[in-house]
Amino acid sequence: MTNDEILAVITGKFPEIQAIPKVQGQARGDELYLSVPAQKLPELCRFLRFDPPLAFDFLSFVTSVDWKDRYEVVYYLVSTLHKHKLVLKVNLADRATPEVPTVTDVWAGADWQEREIFDLMGITFRGHYNLRRILLPDDWEGHPLRKDYVPTPDRYD
C-alpha cells in the first residue's frame, strides 16, 4: 500500500489522527508520519497490528525525544507481510509527569525499549507490567537523556 492508502484506512477508523506533513528543506524519510494523541494510542496500535490490510506486526523500535517544551515518543512500525512502514509520534506536553500508555500488550518487543525510555528519559508507560530502570542502577538520580540533566561530577571531572 502507498502512504496515502495507509492514511485513508487509518483516518477511516480514526478521523482525528493526522499525518505530519514534510517541511520543505528538511530531511526526512519516505515513511508516513502520524501524530497520535496519547489516549488514542492503545486502540490505534491494536488496529494497526490486527487489521489485515495494515498488519503492522513488527515494532522496529521505540524511542523518545526531549524537545525542551515537550516530550515526544516515536514508534517505528513495519509490516513483515506488506513491507510498508509507518512512524507514530506521540506528543507529551506535560513536562512534569510525562505519561503514555504501554504497547507491550500489542508488541511484546516494546518491553525493554519502554523500560529504557523510562530509565533514560523519565517517561512513564502506564500499564507496563515491569517498569523499572534497566541500564542504570536502581538508585540513580535523574534521567540522563533529558536536555536539562546535570551530570553529577565524579573523581575524573
Binding site: A27, F58, T63, W112, Y129
Partner: protein, 382 residues
C-alpha cells in the same frame, strides 16, 4: 510446552511472585558462558526453569548521550564500540543514516568496498559465534579453528586496510577512509577461496557432530510469530523459517545487483540458529566473489565539503548486521552535532526474548539457548 505459543502480552512471561518451591540461581555477571557481563536471574523447580530475567546495564557507556556532544564524523568512533565484533557494519549503518539526510551519492567503488568489508565482517563475527558456542557446548577445537585461524586472517586483512583490528572507523560519511593497499583485493580473493574449504571443515568438526546435535537440536524452540512479536531480527528470526533480511526487504547499497539466498531454518531450535549462521557465511563468500569481479578503480569518497552541515530534520538508516537489523535514528536541528541519536541495537532487542525462551527448559539447556541467541553486551548496554 510454553515456548511454542506466542504471548498475548509480554506480561504473561513475567514472574508475578517468588516461586513457592524451587530455587533461585544467579547466572553471571561474571560467568564464561554469558559472553560478557550479563546476569540472568533464574528460578528453577527441580531441573526445570520456571522464570528467567536477564539483568543488563553493566557495560552502559551512554553512547546516545555522548553523540549529542560530538560532530557527525566524530560519532563514527563511538559506533565502533557498540557491537565490537562487527564494527564495520556499525560504521556503515550510522553513515547510511547521515548520508540519507545529506542526500549525497556514494561512488561505486566505495559501495563495493563497503559490501566486501561488511560481508568479511559478517564471516568474522559468525566465526566468533561458532567458536564460542562450541566452547559453551563443550567442543574446544572449533574455537581454535574458527576464532584463532580464519577470524585472524580477516582481522589481518582489515588491519592492512585501515590500521585497526577491532575499532576500524573505516566507513566514513560519503564513502570509505582510504583506497585498498596494493594487492589487497588479491589477498581477499585467496582468503575467500580457502574459506570455502574451512566452512566444510566446521561442518565435520561441529555442525554434524552427534554430541553437538544432541545438545542443540529440538532445544529452545521459537515460532515465527513469537519471534516477530518480540522484535527479533537476523539469523535468530530466519532460523524460525521466516524469510526476512534487510538486504532483500529494504535494500541498501548495491545489494539488489548481487545474487544471494537467504538461508532459513524450519523450527527455530538452537541447532538451526547455529546452522543458519554457517550457511550465511557461504552466502557472504558468494557476495564477496561477485564484488571482487565487478569492482573497478575509481573514487572511494564522495565530494563533500570539508565542513558540512546536516540539514535539520530526521533520518533513519538501517542494515543487516551480523546480529540483525541495526538502525540509527538521528534527529538534526542543523547544528554540527545531532540533537538526538537513537540506536536500534539488535542484540538488545533479541535478548529480551530470553524471558520467554528459557522457560520450561532444563538448567543444562540454559547455556545452549543463551549462546545460540548470540549477543554482544557492548551493543546490549550501549
Amino acid at each position: 510446552m510454553s515456548q511454542t505459543t506466542t504471548p498475548a502480552s509480554a506480561a504473561d512471561v513475567f514472574p508475578q511472585a517468588p516461586p513457592e518451591k524451587g530455587m533461585f540461581i544467579s547466572l553471571g555477571p561474571q560467568h564464561p558462558s554469558t559472553h560478557g557481563v550479563l546476569r540472568v536471574a533464574i528460578t528453577v523447580d527441580g531441573e526445570t526453569v520456571t522464570s528467567a530475567q536477564p539483568d543488563i546495564g553493566y557495560l552502559h557507556r551512554a553512547t546516545e548521550k555522548l553523540a549529542e556532544k560530538r560532530t557527525y564524523p566524530q560519532i563514527i568512533v563511538l559506533t565502533d564500540r557498540l557491537d565490537y565484533l562487527a564494527a564495520m557494519t556499525n560504521n556503515w549503518s550510522y553513515c547510511l543514516a547521515v548520508e540519507k539526510m545529506l542526500a549525497v551519492p556514494i561512488p561505486e567503488r566505495a559501495e563495493y568496498l563497503r559490501i566486501i568489508v561488511g560481508e568479511l565482517q559478517r564471516i568474522a563475527s559468525h566465526c566468533v559465534f561458532l567458536g564460542t558456542y562450541g566452547i559453551d557446548i563443550g567442543a574446544y577445537t572449533p574455537f581454535l579453528v574458527a576464532f584463532g585461524r580464519e577470524r585472524e586472517r580477516i582481522l589481518d586483512l582489515f588491519e592492512e586496510l585501515c590500521g585497526a583490528r577491532l575499532t576500524y572507523n573505516y566507513i566514513r560519511i560519503g564513502g570509505v577512509m582510504a583506497d585498498t593497499p596494493a594487492g589487497w583485493e588479491k589477498k581477499v580473493r585467496e582468503f575467500v577461496k580457502e574459506m570455502w574449504g574451512h566452512i566444510q571443515e566446521y561442518d565435520t568438526l561441529l555442525t554434524y557432530n552427534p554430541i553437538f546435535m544432541d545438545r542443540t537440536q529440538n532445544i529452545g524452540l521459537m515460532t515465527p510469530e513469537m519471534a516477530v512479536a518480540w522484535g527479533i531480527t537476523g539469523p535468530n528470526l530466519r532460523a524460525t523459517g521466516f524469510r526476512a533480511d534487510v538486504r532483500k526487504d529494504d535494500p541498501y547499497s548495491l545489494y539488489p545487483q548481487l545474487k544471494f539466498d537467504i538461508p532459513v531454518g524450519k523450527q527455530g531450535d538452537c541447532w538451526e540458529r547455529y546452522q543458519v549462521r554457517v550457511s550465511e557465511m557461504r552466502e557472504s563468500l558468494k557476495m564477496i566473489e561477485q564484488c571482487l569481479d565487478r569492482i573497478q578503480p575509481g573514487e572511494w569518497m564522495a565530494k563533500l565539503p570539508k565542513v558540512y552541515r546536516v540539514p535539520a530534520g530526521e533520518g533513519y538508516g538501517h542494515l543487516e548486521a551480523p546480529r540483525g537489523d541495526l538502525g540509527f535514528y538521528i534527529i538534526s536541528d542543523g547544528s554540527p552535532s545531532p540533537y538526538r541519536m537513537h540506536i536500534r541495537a539488535p542484540s538488545f532487542i533479541n535478548l529480551q526474548v530470553l524471558q520467554q525462551l528459557l522457560k520450561g527448559w532444563k538448567v543444562a539447556d540454559v547455556v545452549a539457548i543463551l549462546g545460540s541467541v548470540d549477543i554482544v553486551l557492548g551493543e546490549v548496554d550501549r
